[in-house]
Subunit: 119 residues, 2 copies
C-alpha cells in the first residue's frame, strides 16, 4: 500500500493548507500551502516543501534563509483537506525573524506583540 498525494482534497487552485508545528515544543510555527507535488517532495526528501502562491514556485522552507524544516511526522485531518507537519525547525520560522508567525495576540481588544525578532 502506498500513500497517494492525489487522494488529498485540494481547493480550486490545487492547494491544501499545511500547518507546521514544532515537534519538540509543540509551538504552532506557521501555516502555508502545498500542492500535490509539494506533498510528495516533502515526504520524499524529508525537507518541508510548500508552494508559494506569490512566486508561483516550489518553496523548500529555508532554501534562502537557512531556516529549514526537517519533517518529523506528516498528518492529515479527518476530511483530508488540511495537513499537519511536525517538524524540527532550524532557526526562526517566521520571515520577520521571530520564532513563529503567530506573534500577535488580541487581548482586552488590543493587539499586542508576543515576541521580537531574534537578532
Amino acid at each position: 500500500m502506498s500513500f497517494d498525494p492525489a487522494t488529498l482534497k485540494y481547493n480550486d487552485s490545487g492547494l491544501i493548507p499545511a500547518i507546521a508545528q514544532d515537534a519538540t515544543s509543540g509551538d504552532v510555527l506557521m501555516m502555508a500551502w502545498m500542492n500535490a507535488e509539494a506533498v510528495a517532495a516533502t515526504l520524499k526528501t524529508r525537507r518541508v516543501t510548500y508552494w508559494s502562491r506569490s512566486r508561483q514556485a516550489f518553496w523548500i522552507k529555508g532554501e534562502t534563509s537557512g531556516h529549514t524544516q526537517e519533517l518529523v511526522d506528516f498528518r492529515l485531518d479527518c476530511d483530508r483537506d488540511c495537513l499537519l507537519v511536525l517538524v524540527n525547525q532550524f532557526g526562526p520560522a517566521c520571515h520577520t525573524g521571530r520564532p513563529n508567525c503567530f506573534y500577535t495576540a488580541v487581548r482586552d481588544d488590543d493587539e499586542i506583540e508576543l515576541t521580537s525578532p531574534v537578532t
Copy 2:
C-alpha cells in the same frame, strides 16, 4: 485602540483559516474557517465560533455535540491571513469522536491511524 476584525485578510469567499490548539497539551485539534463576524463573536463570547461552509451558517463549536471550545488566547500570523486560537476543549474535538482531527499519519508510505474514537 480597538481590534477590528475587518483588518484581517480574508479570501475571496470572505473567510480566514483558524487553527485550534489545546491551550494545555499543545495538541493541534482542528482547522476550520471564520468570517469577520465569527471572529467578532469568538472574541466577544469567548466561545470559539466558526463559519460552516457546507451549511453556510455560523457554527459555535460544540453547539450540537457539547464539545465546546473556550477561548484562551486569540492570535494572528505575520501577514494577518491565518488565525491561531488557543482553547480549552471540552470532549473530543473531532466529529469522529477522536481527541483531534489529525489522527492519520503517513509513515513508511502507508497511512496509519493514531487514535480511535473515544467511546
